[in-house]
Amino acid sequence: MTPDILRILPELILTLTGVVVMLTDATLAPRSSRKPLGWLAALGTTIALCASLGQAALPAGTAFYATVQTDAFSAFFHTLICAIVLAAILLSIDALPQHHRGEFFALIVFGAVGMCLLTSAVELLVVFIALEISSISTYVLAGYRKHTAQGPESAIKYFLLGSFATAFLLYGIAMLFGATGTTQIQEIATLLPAARSHTLVILAFALMMVGVLFKVSAAPFHVWTPDVYEGAPTPVVALMSTAPKVAAFALLVRLLYGAFPLLHTLWMPLLWAVAILSMTVGNLAALRQTNAKRMLAYSSIAHAGYLLAALAGVGSQPITAIAFYTAAYAAMNVGIFALLSLVSGPDEHRSQIADYRGVLHQSPLTGGLMLLFLISLIGIPFTGGFFAKFYSFSTAMNGGAAWLVLIGLLNSGIAAAYYLRFAIALAQPAAKNGHAVTLPRWTLATSAAVLAAGAATLVLGIAPGWVLSAATAAAHSFTVIGGL
């Protein structure tokens, strides 16, 4: 019998870290540097990361009256989220302007609590609470560039639309409760055939999907993404373009395969359509962008589409593909945003793609790594992005969705155009009249984060076996317990 406390150990450690960071912040002199707080948060996250890895060794099971469930699936996503958060903290230590940094790190850590909980919660009310914890911290973090015009705009937009979307989710939960009399995911699955009203179930399902698809920024619920990414500080974008989405995808899988496996014939064509729409809308819009962060925002919408394409597969394969894809996506997105943050500096003076001209000449290391992440985003073999797409599309192909695969891969052909435009801008000599900025120094924290992301991208592309077996285990544990 495993003590319940072990099943929420990473969340507990993260909460404790956040509290300690806030308290220490209050004791520091107002003018003194807040960097040690960043290291403190990084330390706490590292311990939580180890605890998440340790959870994989626990026997799968539930805790706290079947509201939380740990298994290989939750351990996989816990580890991934803790790793992303750790990278984001390391990036922020040197990249942020001087003020108010104590609460910044605490907010990141508190957000991580919510995201982690989201991947292990099996009770819809806990799901909702976890989602709110993670969202509220990201709303605040998004508005961190207070002195700029876009900063507050970004936060307000994200907040209004985000709370609207969570409201949808809550409505859905309420209706589902009305139809089945429970909010526990496994019970829903068993009680669904005996539901009071089929219409109510479908309505509840649709409302919940709106909420989750908003969080993963799939079209047509994507409109917030570019504005929010443009206004938020780049290290925060590195975090919020990856970790909350990873958590939301985990939630999506829990809902689809845990609560609604019986509605399979209903959600399959629906998600097909969303997948195709996301990649097409994302890629076509990204083609027209001149701002680097907006371009990457649209690219993340397209990637959500590639991810959803895996759901056309059969058996537990889609879960494996999604788990692997989220890992690869996190590695390359954290990497590229980290380097954007490094190159453009705390004041983010480089916003347009053209501003990045000459980076490869000025600093071959920085430029070369940016090139690596862009190549991975394109999906060239020997990088993580390739195998991510490969597993996603081959899963769809096994499910018989050849047209979806063709559309997806043609889309990745279009996508190559804008990634490559960026890559070529890096390779061109710097503009004569442009600012001949010397690149900022690589610090210990930044280089650790960037090199880890680069190494992860390469390892996922050259030896995907390790992560793949973890992802397979995640999918497998899920099938066993979820009763698919």
Binding site: I380, V405, L406, Q428, L468
Partner: protein, 537 residues
Amino acid sequence: MDGMILTLILLAPLAGMALILLLPDRDEQSTNLPAWLALLTSLFTFACTLHLPAHFVAHQTGFQFEENLAWINSPAIRYHVGVDGLSLWLVVLVGLLAPVGVLASWRAVKKDRKLFYALFLLQQTAMVGVFVSLDLMLYYGFWELSLIPIAVLTAMFGRNLGDASAAKAALRFFLYTFIPSAPLLVALLWLYAHTGSFDYATVQAAIASGTLPGWQLAWVSVAFLIAFAVKVPVLGLHGWLPDLFSEAPVAIAMIAAGKLGLYSLIRFHVELFPALAHRAAPWMIALAAVGILYGALLALVQKDFWKLLAYATLGSLSFCTLGIYGFTAAGMSGAVLQTLNEGIIGAALFLLFGVLYEPASASKLADFGGLATKTPRLATLFTIASLALIGLPLLNGFVGEFLVLSGTFTGVSRVWATVAALGVILSAAYMLGAIQKIFLATGAPAHATGHAAGHPSATARDLTGSETVAVALLALLMLALGIQPGLATDAIEPALQSITQSLRMGAQSRNAANLSPTHPESATVIASSPANLKGGR
């Protein structure tokens, strides 16, 4: 040794790349250390590739120097490499062109040398990987990887960096080749879903067994065909070629066209889908024959030498395509030989004109004149390479073109053979015209003001010692292959025999379909297809 040699050839450039990247930055401006390292690496790799023909057992079908290791379990992707007579000399050719490319860049690349040579060596690994992969997914990996260095190097080290044209050429090249590779990947996934394997031999056997659903398989073969035809390029898909030839650094432009696409056409279209290749053949033959004429006619009117070379290359690559899809033994071995020839001759011409181009960035033919006396070594070697390109007997171009033409004339169609022969005649006209304008033509009006400071003719230099050695070696090779083509064809022909054999089987299965009383509709469709009208097989 034999088991590891291909891995060694693949890894040696990567090791050199890592060494170059680890060099300290401060040396970059003062010394040419990256270039020396790249030269040593590429010479070592070339020596390794020479191990292959030395220990290759001719007249033995199947792959040699094979290595087959598990890489990824699910999906089953294996590290499976090997060469046969078809790929053997192509690997050696890539090995040979690498040091030549380094020498061609020695003076042209002045800054960011580390990056240039690192990416250059990466390109070498990718190209060798394409030729030796026997696992379809591994092959696809190297195929895609080979795009990146070409695109980045063109954008970074393009010849006209002042305007945006180098970046445009890079983007165009990348998109032209990347977009068709999306259907290619779909096709690979489809094959995997239906055969459960990416292994070349397994997939080939599954296709030959005829159990795969027919019309879908036809689409799969079309996806393969288009992806490769773009890379060759075949007429109509050649939009990237002239741009890349005018913009890319010399060392990159000389390896970008031809080999990869032509090899893939033979290995992964003709050999993998023999029956379906038969159906595509009439179209490919027509495109190739028109491509020969089109390339020659456009080369004739070009005023810029790089553009002239691009269209001349289009012509000679169309020759190879014609030979491949004629499905005659002579035509096919001529096509493979011509692929090698094009690589050798193209490299020599690129290097030679690159030397003339570099000081003043002048590529218009009218900018030059009377250089025969000023740059005698360059002029001699340029003339030899041009004559080889034209197809003068005793030089290598003659053998390849002759085999293709005779194969086409006897085995395919006299009309197309005549059209192709017309292209040969025109090639003499434009190459001799170019020689006349660059090296002779002292009385040209553009030259009246000539020899003033800054004029391309005034600043032109002759070849340095190392350049002379490199091109002279290429010229010797042209002569050797011209006099004794058996050097290469002895290994190539047994490999082609197995292909022509499977083609015959493909033809038989088609004939069976023709005769089969249960398929009256398909019989009439095939009987009225252009293959039977024109081909006369």
